[in-house]
């Protein structure tokens, strides 16, 4: 199954897809496999497996702390492929979300090759813009992986169009100008950004940054194709697997209860 199938299935059910994020290796490598499987079983259509990085400039305190914990527990990049394979073996769909330096260090083509072999479907690249992505374009094409670049409220029309052309699978729209972290209200910038994106592409659009509840998921499902939840899953994983399952179930309910945008 490819990423476009994930979104096609959700669309056929007249709902948004639920996309959950968790760093590999948090709280441990085996623990992250368990939580990711629970996320899938409880309603995530797709999981983003994060690669813990020493300098996560796009992340707020919750994900920073999780990455630090994973790294100090001895997480290695090779563990990432192991975690992705565990998700795929359980029948789940996984993409990787990673800062670019670890991929550069591993070798862009080798990383793509090993991710594809593990059953991963693509990479979300928060600090790689298409302008600098020549090697990744080639490697993703060679190994059949999808490329999810990000668009932001500050992106110009020209850049949205260019970024959409470079992407495949889905586009990631950052709902707010800021870093990751759960917020109480859905950003008012998000619907406007998604509307601008739709002018340029038919690719599915996932909206992330700041979502933590079923009610917020329902609101985003009213205008986007995918609802992306990160920090809230990290917080839940810090509590218990039951908390992870409960959050996924609440959010899964949310993406099936879309509220029309105001």
């Amino acid at each position: 199954m490819s990423l476009s199938d994930v979104f096609a299935t959700a669309r056929a059910e007249s709902r948004a897809a639920l996309i959950g994020y968790l760093p590999a290796g948090f709280p441990t490598v085996e623990g992250s496999k368990d939580h990711l499987r629970s996320m899938i079983e409880s309603g995530c259509d797709l999981v983003e497996v994060g690669l813990p990085f020493s300098d996560p400039v796009m992340d707020g305190p919750t994900i920073q702390a999780a990455a630090e914990q994973a790294l100090s527990a001895g997480f290695r990049v090779r563990d990432l492929f192991d975690v992705v394979a565990a998700v795929a073996d359980a029948g789940g769909r996984a993409v990787v979300m990673t800062y670019w330096n670890p991929v550069l260090r591993y070798g862009v083509d080798a990383f793509a090759r090993d991710l594809a072999a593990a059953g991963g479907l693509g990479i979300i690249t928060p600090d790689l813009v298409p302008d600098e992505a020549e090697d990744w374009m080639a490697a993703s094409a060679a190994h059949g992986l999808d490329r999810t670049f990000l668009v932001a409220p500050s992106s110009t029309e020209e850049r949205i169009a260019m970024t959409a052309r470079a992407s495949s699978g889905f586009l990631y729209a950052t709902a707010v100008m800021g870093v990751t972290g759960a917020r109480d209200v859905v950003s008012s910038a998000a619907p406007a950004l998604v509307a601008r994106v739709r002018e340029h592409t038919t690719l599915p659009v996932g909206v992330g940054l700041g979502v933590r509840s079923g009610a917020q998921a329902a609101e985003i499902a009213g205008f986007a194709d995918g609802v992306i939840v990160g920090s809230a899953f990290v917080t839940a994983a810090g509590e218990s697997d039951a908390a992870v399952r409960a959050l996924a179930a609440d959010l899964a309910q949310g993406v099936r209860s879309a509220v029309a945008p105001v």
């Binding site: 400039v57 330096n101 550069l104 992106s155």
Partner: protein, 406 residues
């Protein structure tokens, strides 16, 4: 040639120096760096901007800085040594050049809030100074470890009206202060300029920071020709992020007989693993927005730098230095903490000038280089800052409080 004249050494339109540089930043910041690049392109050709910058350098920072011969220090180097006295600038280092330029750009862009990172506190103090002068709001991110090591500079910044935010994430030092500044910038980019303190980061920072510091090399070249009647055999500067080095190098970059020598922080020695010699011992990677040499482990996790000099304690380096190393136009080697401290004491005693420990690395480099040039050789060393801020370190290192002698 003027300080802002485009040269064949400028990066391409997307900020690449060969394979180095570029923009490895979140899409959310692209609009801001595009705006900054467009504003700088206009400003560098606008006589009003250029004249205002020159006026501030002259009437506020105290430029031109002197070029001073150091004959007694030179006896130890075995060759003639001249010092470019950036330590005499207002706020005590070369940092003021870049800060005044970027603060003027901030005003041109109609932004009111400035954020900055600082390690030792020199760039933070310079930024707070420029913001006080030009009426801008100023927030400085500083690793918690550094706020403790450099409490006097924290007090200076606060006295100048800046808010200092201790950064408690990661290693709680300079690289984490940069991370936190970038996070602030993404969230507040509409009204905020990130006043980056070194010639690193995403395009256009390496270009514009370098250009604001080109004045160092332009002055030094004129001064050495006038005073010594010829160009030096080598220009020597310390390299952390590399801003003072790139500024003085550019004055001589087309004088192909002049060696450009960058001296890196060797810490306890390269074999110890405890150092900050990014160009000598690092590998290619992307950090803080640009492709350059970085210090990283085999998984691409950034490792911590170590140097007795907080200002050189950085696991990355400006991308143009990576380029100059690759094409062989500049050469880089490390000196250890001990060698730098020896040079620190030597210049103080022989010439009556207390250098910054950063700049002491360049002096130690000159001591190594000198003998090969012989008595007729000529070195220009960039004395990038003064050592007042380093007295705590010196007191501990030499035991000065207990009657010790450096």
């Amino acid at each position: 040639m003027g300080q802002f004249t485009p040269t064949p050494h400028d990066p391409d339109a997307r900020g690449h120096f060969g394979p180095w540089g570029g923009r490895f930043v979140p899409e959310a910041l692209i609009a801001a760096v595009d705006e900054l690049a467009a504003e700088y392109d206009k400003a560098r050709l606008d006589p009003e901007f250029v004249n205002e910058f020159k006026r501030l350098l002259r009437d506020f920072a105290g430029r031109p800085s002197l070029l001073t011969e150091a004959p007694k220090f030179a006896e130890h180097a075995g060759t003639r040594v001249w010092l470019k006295r950036e330590d005499l600038n207002h706020t005590g280092s070369h940092k003021i050049n870049n800060v005044l330029g970027q603060a003027l750009l901030t005003k041109r862009m109609g932004k009111q809030r400035v954020i900055a990172e600082t390690g030792a506190g020199q760039h933070g103090v310079a930024t707070a100074t420029a913001c006080a002068l030009l009426g801008l709001d100023c927030v400085v991110y500083m690793g918690e470890v550094d706020t403790e090591r450099q409490s006097l500079n924290v007090a200076r910044m606060r006295l100048l009206g800046a808010e200092v935010i201790p950064v408690k994430s990661g290693s709680r030092t300079l690289k984490d202060a940069i991370n936190e500044a970038l996070r602030d910038w993404v969230a507040n980019v509409d009204d905020t300029h990130y006043l980056l303190g070194t010639a690193a980061g995403p395009h256009p920072f390496p270009l514009l920071v370098r250009d604001f510091h080109r004045i160092i090399g332009i002055e030094a070249r004129e001064q050495i020709l006038e005073k010594a009647g010829r160009l030096p055999d080598a220009v020597v500067a310390c390299v952390g992020g590399g801003s003072n080095a790139i500024g003085i190098f550019h004055g001589f970059i087309d004088d192909t007989d002049v060696r450009l020598v960058g001296v890196e922080p060797g810490g306890s020695g390269l074999d110890s693993g405890s150092h900050g010699a990014t160009l000598t011992a690092g590998t290619p990677g992307s950090l803080h927005g640009a492709m350059s040499y970085v210090m990283q482990d085999e998984d691409g996790q950034i490792t911590e730098a170590h140097s007795i000099s907080a200002g050189l304690d950085y696991p990355g380096v400006g991308p143009e230095h990576s380029h100059l190393k690759d094409i062989g136009r500049a050469e880089y080697f490390p000196v250890t903490d001990a060698e730098a401290m020896e040079a620190f004491a030597l210049l103080s005693r022989t010439e009556g000038i207390i250098p910054a420990i950063e700049s002491s690395h360049a002096l130690a480099g000159a001591l190594k280089l000198g003998p090969s040039l012989g008595p007729d050789g000529l070195l220009v060393v960039n004395l990038s800052g003064r050592g007042d801020k380093d007295m705590d370190t010196a007191v501990k290192y030499f035991g000065l409080a207990d009657g010790g002698q450096a």
